[in-house]
Symmetry: C2
Subunit: 442 residues, 2 copies
């Protein structure tokens, strides 16, 4: 039994494509991969020699390890990660960030490092945050939810009582309505551009169940939801939505909510702007009209070109974002690469994502990764070839209503230049001849 | 506009069921809810008065808060949880645990606190662990994967190169083959009984893609996978499985693997016993026969009644577990409760879960929560009524192959009493007249 040791390729995608890949030997001569290729070449010789030696018999564990066994294989590792594990010390980039230059981290937000993440689930430690008066520390044994107003009964519930109602778990996205704002500066990384979106599995009681329990009067048209934070963050939600898919959520990705996500109880309003999913939920006031609260008059309206404000723009419209390669990434070799990203729609399922590498002149369909769930992040990916030329990478998503993600020009045409929230425009990333990737709108 | 303030119920499920619930006034008189009901009653008066007052106008935020506003609403909260968030300080029970009495936490395992969790995703900090020589600390820049043996090329890959291959994300369960062992003691909590199972979204490169890249010889029948830990943990996997759904996984729930889950690279072998998903993966040796390594001769075989060992029992068969109510939980009121749990099968999708409250004499179908994914945890739930009598709660799952989860008696009949691994028997939980829940097999 024998096999031939061939020179290793530096283009793992080359065999996956019908496009021609560069001469590998020529690529190595050009030294394009720099230090990495060199380091691997140095390592390769003894390991492949060992591979040849061991290939004559099945591997049986430590007995036939190659000679250059690393330190971590020669030694006993650390203990089990109890009580609660944390990321590797090498993952220094996979962290939440505050808006650059922000001095006061209470009325603030932090972004999910989308350019470091994969798939449709965001770890709880990295889910984006937005607070209006900081993160309260709430004792769940003392927390109460009151439901009153146009109901048959006014009721107060403990957390234990809420959790006794039939509960469901659903995977949904959550996005801040200002992700991003219309205004420059637009930021360098995917997190800085649009890091106020995350995905998670949310567990809770369908609000409908509890509303049926307290009984709604015929005149009930809205619910004004109020948080227990210092801002008493308050939003109005149409009763139709409350009876559809809104949750009284107490868990996120399996465990109880994190403090910054509303522990011990938040509203979760699927597909609507994130600020409506009131955190630290203490009160649901059933009314016949919206509250016109501070947060829905002074904030969270859209100033139109004619000077009037568009109010109650609840739904987060269909959107997508390329997360790899994205700003501050660098292509270090020519050949086939993969565009990866996420798409989502507040109106239902994503039905397709197109990608372009030439700034929108030509498009091709990306592959959607299963599962494709309603009002959840959906992963997409598509191969592309880079030969050292400048590229402008773009993605545009479509949802099951037929809506297609717009360009920024189309958005400005529809809403004027003074709008702040609900910017779901196509985000371009520029690839320079050097391979460096930067924000195509900056 | 007015509404009637009625006495609050202590049974939130009562309106969800056709079964009769107890007189609420009578229940409160009996004092069954103890301190909780008292505390709520004390709180209820001023809040409901406030509710009456505020019901005459829509809520407008802080202006019409009830008088007993808690401290956390009167004050500014803490800062954003950057760079990486952690659970609430009140969630002291949602932690991983070592086997009780274990002195040495390297060759060890820790369990997922299933009785505290919801849904089909386990947070990374709580995913169960099993280590044979502790947790190595691996520098991803230095880590390499070698593929050799019956291949056209022997190749060595850096992590950067592996991540450049087309990648996918999939939600799967992972379970230790000894979850639980056949032997007593069986433990008190769901974690102690069967906490070596977790669910996550795994991102990586289909192994098939990389095998096609290096080229398999016709004689290739098995792959012997080896870890870079001090135990050089090594298992053999049939080539058919490797070409089906095995992943070279580098992310879990969106972020890079945690150290205790194989950072920076692990094999993920969906539906097979967890120890085959080799962590800290450094080598794939393509062979024509299994390695018969230490871990598949001395360990991970099943001793049958006739003294022979069953080898290569790869698949984790269909199973379910009631997580709420479960051992150490307590029913604090009579009325309608909800059984909640998880089901999974290494052979595909769960098609149904039955539950029993009378020790298996009668069964009824539970509701499965969407999404129901192949080789992933599936949530189920079913209401039941408790009137202070003794109950024996059970669940039994079925998968798309028609397999039905067995009883322990059926398993012992098939495999004898000396088997250790692959116990997927029905787990009973006993509810005492006091409401206390204990292990029905202990």
């Amino acid at each position: 039994m024998s096999h031939e040791i061939r020179e290793r390729t530096t283009d793992p995608l080359a065999d996956q494509s019908t496009l021609t890949s560069p001469g590998r030997r020529g690529f190595l001569r050009r030294g394009g991969a720099g230090a990495m290729a060199t380091a691997v070449a140095a390592l390769a010789t003894p390991e492949i020699a060992a591979a040849q030696a061991s290939a004559t018999a099945p591997a049986t564990g430590a007995d036939n390890l190659p000679p250059n066994v690393p330190e971590w294989t020669r030694s006993l590792g650390g203990p089990t990660a109890v009580p609660y594990g944390t990321p590797s010390k090498y993952e220094t980039k996979a962290v939440r960030s505050l808006y650059p230059g922000l001095k006061e981290p209470m009325s603030a937000y932090s972004t999910t490092p989308l350019q470091e993440l994969d798939g449709i689930i965001t770890p709880n430690g990295l889910h984006y945050e937005r607070h209006h008066a900081g993160v309260p520390t709430i004792d769940p044994a003392q927390h109460r939810l009151m439901i009153h107003g146009l109901t048959d009964k006014a009721m107060i519930f403990t957390m234990e009582e809420i959790r006794q109602f039939p509960s469901i778990s659903r995977i949904y996205f959550m996005e801040c309505s200002g992700n991003p704002s219309f205004l420059p500066p637009y930021g360098k990384t995917a997190a800085e551009v649009a890091g106020l979106v995350s995905g998670a599995s949310w567990t809770g009681v369908p609000l409908r169940t509890v509303l049926e329990h307290v009984g709604l009067k015929r005149s009930a048209k809205w619910i004004v939801a109020e948080g227990a934070d210092g801002a008493a963050m308050t939003r109005s939600i149409p009763i139709e939505k409350c009876l559809d898919d809104v949750l009284l959520a107490y868990s996120q990705n399996g465990e109880r909510l994190r403090p910054e996500q509303g522990y011990p109880l938040r509203l979760f309003v699927p597909g609507f702007e994130g600020n409506m999913s009131i955190k630290w939920l203490r009160r649901l006031h059933v009314t016949d009209k919206p509250g016109h609260t501070r947060e829905e008059t002074a904030k969270y309206t859209d100033l139109m070109a004619d000077g009037r404000a568009r109010q109650f723009s609840f739904v987060m419209e269909c959107k997508s974002l390329i997360t790899s390669p994205s700003g501050t990434h660098k292509l270090t070799r020519q050949g086939i690469h993969e565009i990866r990203g996420i798409a989502w729609s507040g109106r239902g399922k994503i039905t397709g994502v197109d990608v372009s590498i030439d700034g929108g002149r030509t498009w091709k369909a990306a592959v959607l990764d299963a599962p494709v769930l309603s009002k959840a992040l959906t992963s997409f990916r598509a191969p592309f070839e880079w030969r050292g030329q400048e590229l402008m990478l773009m993605s545009r998503a479509m949802d099951e209503t037929g809506y297609v993600q717009p360009t920024i020009e189309q958005l400005i045409q529809a809403r004027g230049k003074f709008s702040f929230y609900h910017n779901n425009a196509i985000q371009p990333w520029k690839v320079a001849a050097s391979g460096e990737v930067t924000n195509g709108r900056a």
